[in-house]
């Protein structure tokens, strides 16, 4: 009996040897619970897109944080021609790119992948079908290394090219996928947790809720510096911080501002702030009968938000101050910030609108984490306290994010705390949803029906001259800032804590992270 106790104690507490060289494994901790698939044509979630980006290559791509210059990916060159009825895009594939299966990437794989995206109708497929207006059969292999794609004249080839940098344009090994297809699913089931790409890594294991393990793709053109990547699911920010501090993980995403401050002060670690294109904002419902249909009240609200304290006190540097609808980093961003916290002015405006006793309203927030790593209820509580001094009595209703969205979509909110990220890196990814009521997106949800704003957004979307486009967006952003249903609170940065041993880590504003460029010192 007693011996067994000692055997047990030895087994549990005994020292153990590590099986792997620590510099050859990169451990990345974060909340990956949104991960539901790694199929490039289906994936649309932040973490899924980030991972799939390391498994698959696209024809063209952006490098680093530069979202303006297209660079060669699988295609070494491309050209755009104006046909009689269509835009004709021709891509020349480079030779010798290989899938993790060892097969060469050829034009038929590109055709298969694009047709697959259209057939599967994943959540991101509107990028192909609506924005690029791509039709089945419009992608052709002219020879094994030449692909031709035709899109209608009414679509913008520039937008299409930037969409092609997104995972939906990731090229899969058509033979391997067809081999694993079941009942006409085009391999969707299999690709959910297997990979068949030419990217620097291949997927070796995904234990849902626990970890995703990537290994260097032995046939890839791009060789990663660290051959093995482990993505650990860690949701608790406090636990995440401890894991980083104790060396269990190398990269920590989702730390609290306090945690980041402590990490930044320690020479063994460093902090990277990834810029995002996300905007955190308040949406005021302007539908008939709502108090916020009154422009004076919306104006008062803009003076009732203490943006500076919010940024300094709560976000502590993990956000950029901005008040207009196009985020910093995209063409057309308008840096003007005319509104300052002014409770007296807000009260006066309220009184002018007939609310001498102030106004009570419901502020709808998610129970989740808002941009910049702060819990949304904390942001709401801060807003509530500042608004109270300005005559607005906010009743906070914190509910699951899904319910916030459902309420918002049904136009049943009074004021909502929400976030928005553009679907593709172009100002139109914000301008149309925010300004065009007909697009049935944010403007519609807040009953902001302004024909001038909608027309400006449409006009700017099709304008090809960058300077003219910029000018149009300046008019639009100013107008919506003063009249619209939004109070933009901030543009969050995504703060990430790293071990000082980690070099070359980067996360771009579209939230992709080229892990193959990361190296790890002993």
């Amino acid at each position: 009996m007693r011996q067994w106790v000692w055997v047990f104690i030895f087994l549990v507490l005994g020292g153990f040897s590590l099986a792997q060289d620590r510099t050859q494994v990169l451990v990345y901790g974060g909340d990956w619970t949104d991960l539901i698939t790694l199929d490039p044509q289906v994936v649309y979630e932040f973490s899924g897109v980030m991972i799939a980006d390391n498994l698959y290559e696209t024809l063209v791509r952006f490098e680093g944080s530069d979202l303006a210059t297209l660079r060669p990916g699988l295609a070494e060159s491309w050209k755009v021609e104006r046909g009689t009825t269509d835009w004709i895009l021709t891509f020349k594939l480079r030779r010798g790119s290989r899938f993790s299966t060892g097969r060469e990437v050829t034009a038929k794989d590109v055709v298969f992948s694009f047709e697959r995206a259209l057939a599967l109708k994943g959540p991101g497929s509107f990028l192909f079908t609506d924005i690029a207006q791509l039709k089945p059969g419009a992608t052709k292999a002219l020879d094994p290394y030449t692909v031709e794609v035709r899109i209608p004249k009414s679509a913008s080839p520039q937008s299409f090219l930037s969409i092609l940098t997104f995972t939906i344009g990731g090229v899969v090994d058509s033979e391997e996928v067809q081999k694993n297809a079941k009942g006409g699913d085009l391999g969707k089931d299999w690709l959910t947790n297997n990979s068949a790409g030419s990217g620097p890594y291949r997927l070796v294991r995904w234990d849902r809720g626990n970890q995703v393990i990537l290994e260097a793709n032995p046939h890839a053109r791009i060789k990663p510096k660290v051959p093995r990547v482990v993505l650990r699911y860690i949701q608790e920010p406090a636990v995440l911080r401890t894991a980083l501090e104790s060396g269990e993980i190398d990269i920590a995403e989702g730390l609290t501002p306090e945690g980041l401050k402590a990490i930044a002060a320690n020479p063994r670690f460093k902090v990277v702030r990834a810029e995002t294109l996300r905007l955190q904002y308040l949406g005021m419902n302007m539908k008939a009968g709502s108090p916020f249909a009154n422009a004076k009240l919306r104006e008062a609200m803009r003076y009732a938000v203490n943006q500076d304290e919010l940024l300094q006190g709560l976000l502590q540097g993990n956000a950029v101050k901005t008040q207009t609808l196009i985020p910093k980093g995209l063409l057309g961003h308008n840096p003007t910030t005319p509104y300052k916290y002014d409770p007296n002015r807000a009260r006066k405006l309220l009184a002018e609108a007939g609310y001498l006793q102030g106004l009570e309203f419901e502020l709808l927030v998610s129970t989740g984490i808002c941009g910049g790593g702060v819990p949304c209820p904390d942001v709401a509580a801060k807003l509530q306290a500042d608004m109270a001094k300005a005559g607005f009595r906010a009743r906070i209703r914190a509910i699951a994010n899904a319910e916030v969205l459902a309420t918002y979509r049904a136009q049943n909110h009074q004021v909502v705390l929400a976030g928005w990220s553009p679907d593709f890196p172009d100002p139109d990814g914000n301008a149309t949803p925010w300004a065009d009521y007909g697009a049935r997106s944010l403007a519609w949800r807040n009953s902001y029906n302004d024909e001038v704003a909608a027309k400006l957004a449409r006009q700017a979307a099709l304008e090809t001259d960058p300077q003219k486009r910029q000018a149009l967006y300046k008019v639009l952003t100013e107008k919506v800032l003063r009249e619209g249903p939004y109070v933009v609170l901030y543009q969050p940065a995504q703060p990430i804590g790293l071990s000082a041993k980690v070099e070359g880590f980067l996360k771009n504003p579209m939230m992709s992270a080229p892990l193959w460029q990361v190296s790890k010192q002993p």
Binding site: E236, P237, A238, R241, T242, T256, E258, G259, A262, E309, G313, L314, T367, P375, P377, D378, A380, A381, K382, Q384, A385, I396, R397, A398, I399, A400, E403
Partner: protein, 274 residues
């Protein structure tokens, strides 16, 4: 009665429990008037350690932890009693009907009880709270819905045991109706185990409700509910352990008090059950 009280008071645990409860009741009744505003924030004073001004420090929004904990006492006691009241009413009614009517009704009602008994309670409460929308009222309802079967079983067992006893036979012989026998004769005698169970269940209900709030299916911010407070401040354990510890101790002491009280009551009222 006096003998029972004396026996109760000879049990040191019971006395401690009773004392704790009295203190808690006082805090819940009078406390909120004595401390500051539990919702007032001061972001410049975030996560400050205990000081004369803030005896239990401040939380991540610079709110006074003491004020929040004191207000939380009222909420948690309210939740605990609310749950037990609802659950014991429902459970007693079901148990009384099952035991009293017998036969097919008994069978049906007890199988229903089995279903709820086998239900993973926290998960059912989560589902209910998610469906109805998370707020304290729904939490009370949800926890009551998962805890009533225990009373139903207790009461039914008592009723079955008592039904054949002489005083019930006597009442029946005197021509008392079924309903009258149930309410006048069986119910009062079946209540003792319910009372003992209820005293434990207040503590258990407070724990469950706090757990629900902790994972976001209960009280909503900025409500100073103890479980929600621990949840909101748990990420600051390294910088400000007081902010999460104070409400957690609140839960611990309250639950402890009810457990001690339950032990004491059981010793006195139901000496066999130990």
């Amino acid at each position: 009665m006096r003998r029972l009280a004396r026996r109760f008071l000879r049990n040191p645990g019971a006395v401690v429990g009773l004392f704790l409860l009295l203190v808690l009741a006082l805090v819940a009744l009078l406390g909120p008037g004595l401390v500051g505003d539990p919702l007032e924030q001061n972001l410049l004073e975030r996560l400050k350690p205990p000081s004369p001004e803030h005896p239990l420090g401040t939380d991540q929004l610079g709110r006074d932890v003491l004020a929040r904990v004191v207000h939380g006492a009222r909420i948690s006691l309210g939740v605990g009693f609310g749950v037990v009241l609802l659950a014991s009413l429902l459970g007693t009614a079901v148990g009384l009907l099952a035991g009293g009517l017998g036969g097919r009704w008994d069978n049906l009602l007890m199988r229903l009880t089995d279903v709820f008994f086998a239900f993973p309670s926290l998960i059912l409460a989560m589902a209910i709270a998610a469906a109805l929308g998370p707020n304290l009222g729904n939490t009370v309802l949800a926890v009551a819905l998962v805890t009533w079967p225990i009373y139903a079983r207790l009461v039914r067992a008592q009723v079955l045991a008592l039904r054949e006893r002489e005083f019930v036979e006597a009442a029946r012989a005197l021509g008392a109706g079924q309903g009258r026998i149930l309410l006048r004769h069986l119910l009062p005698n079946a209540l003792t185990p319910v009372l003992v169970q209820a005293s434990y269940e207040v503590g258990a209900a407070i724990l469950t409700a706090a757990g629900l709030s902790f994972i976001g299916f209960g009280a909503q911010p900025p409500t100073p509910e103890w479980g929600a407070m621990v949840a909101e401040t748990r990420n600051y354990m390294a910088e400000a352990p007081w902010a999460a510890t104070a409400p957690a101790l609140g839960i611990l002491l309250t639950v402890l008090a009810f457990n001690l009280l339950g032990d004491g009551l059981r010793d006195v009222l139901d000496p066999r059950g130990r």
